[in-house]
């Protein structure tokens, strides 16, 4: 059993400067209960294709 007690004092921030928020990231000025950001980023060796330009499988009927 974990006992967690949180006391929030006043929070005042002058300024926030962010270049980018990307790939399922979260910036929250507020309260939340559940937070599950997930991201899959893949550049596998197979993703580098050297040779004649073969188109990718079409959107439908490709399987």
């Amino acid at each position: 059993m974990i006992n967690l007690q949180v006391v929030n004092q006043g929070m005042t921030i002058g300024s926030i400067r962010i270049i980018g928020v990307g790939s399922a990231s979260v910036v929250l000025i507020g309260d939340t209960e559940v937070l599950t950001p997930s991201s899959v980023f893949d550049t596998p060796p197979e993703s580098l294709i050297i040779g004649p330009l073969v188109p990718l499988a079409p959107e439908t009927g490709g399987e």
Partner: protein, 138 residues
């Protein structure tokens, strides 16, 4: 849980794209999803209907969930109800990102990105360390 009150004096966001969310105010749940197939070709030739999501493992594989098997007794006391920010400047939001000024119960964001590069000639890097493909005659 009694949520606090968020205030932002000045907000500037230059761009929002690809299922990103900028939310001002409270809400119950935010669940943005984005799936990106980024194809770069040495020769710019795109048919327009390419990209079958199901044929790539990146878009099919399930994302493991965290199992919470422990009871947590949480007590929150808000001595001050204010969350005050003077000014906020963000250049870009992208790919299922969330910026919220306010409170919520749940955020479940998901992004899947697959990069594919197609070159007509070059040498495949060996050993895994080099990331640059030198253009070379075979």
């Amino acid at each position: 849980m009694t949520a606090r009150v968020s205030t932002v004096g000045n907000l500037k966001v230059l761009s929002i794209n690809y299922s990103a969310i900028l939310h001002m105010g409270d809400c119950v749940a935010l669940t943005p999803r984005s799936e990106v197939l980024a194809v770069q070709r040495q020769v710019s030739n795109y048919l327009g209907d390419e990209g079958n999501w199901d044929s790539f493992q990146t878009f099919r594989q399930p994302i493991p969930e965290v199992l919470v098997d422990e009871t947590v007794r949480l007590s929150i006391r808000n001595d001050s109800p204010w969350l005050a920010v003077g000014s906020m400047k963000i250049i870009g939001l992208a790919a299922a990102a969330v910026v919220q000024i306010g409170s919520n119960k749940l955020i479940d964001s998901e992004n899947r990105t697959l990069h594919i590069r197609q070159l007509t000639r070059g040498i495949r890097p060996v050993g895994g360390t080099p990331a640059v493909v030198e253009g070379a005659d075979d």
